[in-house]
Each structure stands twice: as structure tokens, then as C-alpha cells.
Amino acid sequence: MEINELKQIVEALLIATPEPLTETRFKACMGRAEPVLPLDEIIEELQAEYSASDRAFFIKEVAGGYQLVTKAEYEIFVKGLFSKSGKLRLSQAALETLAIVSYRQPVTRNDIEAIRGVSSDSSLRTLLDRKLLEIRGRDDGPGRALLYRTSIEFLQYFGLNSVKDLPKLREVEDILSEDQGELV
């Protein structure tokens, strides 16, 4: 296989890959196509091409693989993509915390940690920063712990009129239990 063809294939892979492209993954994608150069050699050629044609991105070596990233000088424009982004992006930890607050509100930090089994400080901070949660009042218990609830922004994002409109667990079970009929 020629270098130009290989360069194009690697470019397609870099565009489509959701995680850094490793040598192993590259080989798997190439299947039985032969002969194939080592990934780092192809990357080097491609990198030179991007640099010569003044592309706004380059190939970054990261976590044992390669990924397309934008050049630092475009950072001021790119960050505009993530301010009030249309899509909600959260870590698994933050999602778990959000799920517990949604269904159990109002809750204290202790309530959340009892269910998750791990400290949830930083998730709570992230969710407060993103205005998905808010602090409203204090628990009556001895510690007078802060109470967390979901915010108006949370309702708007998910198109809900009130937290009462959250899907009930029973409604989820209906959809999830489809396979039972086949056991008959």
C-alpha cells in the first residue's frame, strides 16, 4: 500500500476515533491490508503535511496514541463552544450525583454519599458551578446540613415542568423488562 493511501486512511481514523489512535488499534483497522508502515511513520508524514498547509489542528501524542487537537492559538475561539454548550457533558461521578439529587431531593451530602459509597464533594461543586443544582435551606437534623435540589436550569434542559414529571422508576422498568415475555 502506498504512503499516500496510508496517510488518507490514518486521517480518516483520526477524524472518526473517539479515543486516541494506538498502533494496536490501527493494525486492527487495517486487517489484512499489506504492506503497512508503522503508525508513527505515517503520523510523521501527515503531521508534516498539516504543518505545511497551515491547518488549524495538529496530531498530538497522548495516552499512548494519537489524536487531532486544535492549535493553542485558537483556544480563545474554541472555548466559546463549551460555554453554555447545547449538550450536557458530565463525568460519571457527576452524573451519579445528579441522578441521586434528582430523585431524592432535597438531600444532604451525607445522603448522596451513603448511596454512592464515595465522597461526592467535587461532583457537587461541578453541578453547582453548572447551575444544575442549587442549595436551598438546611436539614432539621442535628448537623443542620445543607440541602441540595435541582435548579430551574435543570428542568429547562430536560424539558420538564417540575421535578414531579421525572420518569418514575416503574416507567423505566416497563421499558427495560421487555425480554420477560420470551421466557414463557
Partner: protein
């Protein structure tokens, strides 16, 4: 036309409406003037097979069978010229259902074509984690209400009150459900299908009960009435009730 349906045939169909459309096309029937007796007979053959195969959607086929039998019965009634009230063909509602379903079935075909065209293209997704960012935890993109729901469900199952979640698999047989329905109809002259459903916790029991109803319907142990297509079914005692 007495071609015996096979398992493969039945699994081809997305449901009772799909099967009816197939029968209409196969026998070149006029959708404006469906010969109900003929189509009911053919349809029941498939339904019995569905029952034997214990198909997931057997209940939906049973419902349609009951509807067809009801239409058939109504076709046999003499038409009374009752003033100037126009008498509606008992098949009209079914015809409308079939046509409406057919529209969406066709649209599904168009979507399938689009899917084929779009399939070879892959969208660029920027790395799910930002290399500039030190936090290496996976960032989940585009969280939906469904994800929140699933996450909460998952957390409950894993961390909380594990004792209350030890649900025993319920064993239930068709003959048990026949007995159960018999008992209910001995106590009451009629019962609504929806009220039956409410008391069952698992879909397994619901399906077995559907099958029991079909069995009893065939043996004329019960009668099933339905005022409108996909309306609630009303069960009552049949000619052979208790036998």
C-alpha cells in the same frame, strides 16, 4: 388458500396489522371490502402458531383475533334501516388502522434507505476527554433524562436496600391462569381486561394470561367483547363456561 404458516413466516411480521396487510396483499384482497370471514380464518391459523411458539407479541395477536371475530359477528347481523341514521360498516375502523399503519411502515422503509446511505460516514467526535485537562475521568457526552433515570436505577440496585430487591421468579402456567379466570368469572359475570392486568406484577404473567384467554375463547368457555379497536376487552362467561 390453505398454506400452512411456518415459524419463519410469523417472525417476519411486526405485529397483527403487519400480518393482516400481508394476507390482504397475498390474496389480492380489496382493503375497502375485506372478506372478514376468510381473513379471520387465515389470521387465526397464524395466531395459533404464535401461541405454540410462545411468541413475545402473542397477546397482541390475540387481541386482534378477538377484534376480527367481533367484526365478523357484526357483519352477520341483519342491517336494520333505523331511521336516517347512517350505518357504519363494521370494518371501517380496521381499514383505517391498516392504512395508517401502512403509511408508517412505508416511512420505515425510507428511513432504512437513509440509514444505508449514511452508514459509511463517521462523524468526527473530539476526544471524549480533553488532553489539556488534567482530570482523566471520562466525560459523558450529551446526557439525557434517560441516562439520569438509568443511573439512579443502577445506584439503587447496587448500594441500597439489597434485601428488598430479591425478587423471586414466579412460576405460572397456562392451566393455572385458566383456573384463575374461571374462578373470577364464577364470582362476577364480567370483568375488564385492564383490571386483570393491574394485579399482575410481571409481564410474564400477563402474557400467560393472554394465552389462557385465547385458549378459553377457542373452547367457548368465555366471550370477549371490545367496543373499539384497541379498547379494553370485556370478558364474560361463554356457552361452555365451566366445562
Amino acid at each position: 388458500m390453505m398454506i400452512k404458516p411456518h415459524r419463519i413466516d410469523l417472525e417476519m411480521f411486526e405485529g397483527p396489522l403487519d400480518l393482516l396487510l400481508f394476507l390482504i396483499k397475498r390474496d389480492e384482497l380489496n382493503i375497502y371490502d375485506i372478506p372478514v370471514a376468510q381473513i379471520t380464518k387465515d389470521f387465526l391459523e397464524y395466531v395459533n402458531l404464535a401461541k405454540e411458539l410462545k411468541l413475545h407479541s402473542a397477546g397482541d395477536f390475540v387481541l386482534m383475533a378477538a377484534t376480527l371475530m367481533k367484526i365478523k359477528a357484526r357483519m352477520l347481523l341483519p342491517i336494520e334501516a333505523d331511521g336516517d341514521e347512517e350505518i357504519e360498516d363494521p370494518r371501517t375502523e380496521l381499514m383505517n388502522m391498516l392504512l395508517e399503519y401502512k403509511r408508517y411502515k412505508e416511512a420505515a422503509g425510507a428511513f432504512s434507505n437513509l440509514e444505508r446511505v449514511e452508514r459509511p460516514h463517521y462523524y468526527h467526535i473530539p476526544g471524549a476527554w480533553d488532553p489539556q485537562q488534567e482530570d482523566k475521568t471520562a466525560i459523558l457526552e450529551d446526557i439525557k433524562l434517560y441516562d439520569i433515570m438509568l443511573t439512579f436505577r443502577y445506584l439503587l440496585k447496587n448500594y441500597e436496600e439489597p434485601v428488598t430487591h430479591s425478587v423471586a421468579i414466579e412460576e405460572v402456567t397456562m392451566s393455572e391462569q385458566v383456573g384463575f379466570l374461571n374462578g373470577l368469572l364464577q364470582a362476577k359475570t364480567s370483568l375488564k381486561f385492564s383490571s386483570l392486568l393491574e394485579q399482575f406484577e410481571s409481564r410474564l404473567i400477563v402474557v400467560v394470561t393472554f394465552l389462557a384467554i385465547l385458549e378459553m375463547l377457542r373452547g367457548r368457555q368465555i366471550k370477549v367483547k371490545q367496543t373499539k379497536l384497541f379498547d379494553d376487552l370485556l370478558l364474560s362467561r361463554g356457552a361452555e363456561f365451566g366445562n
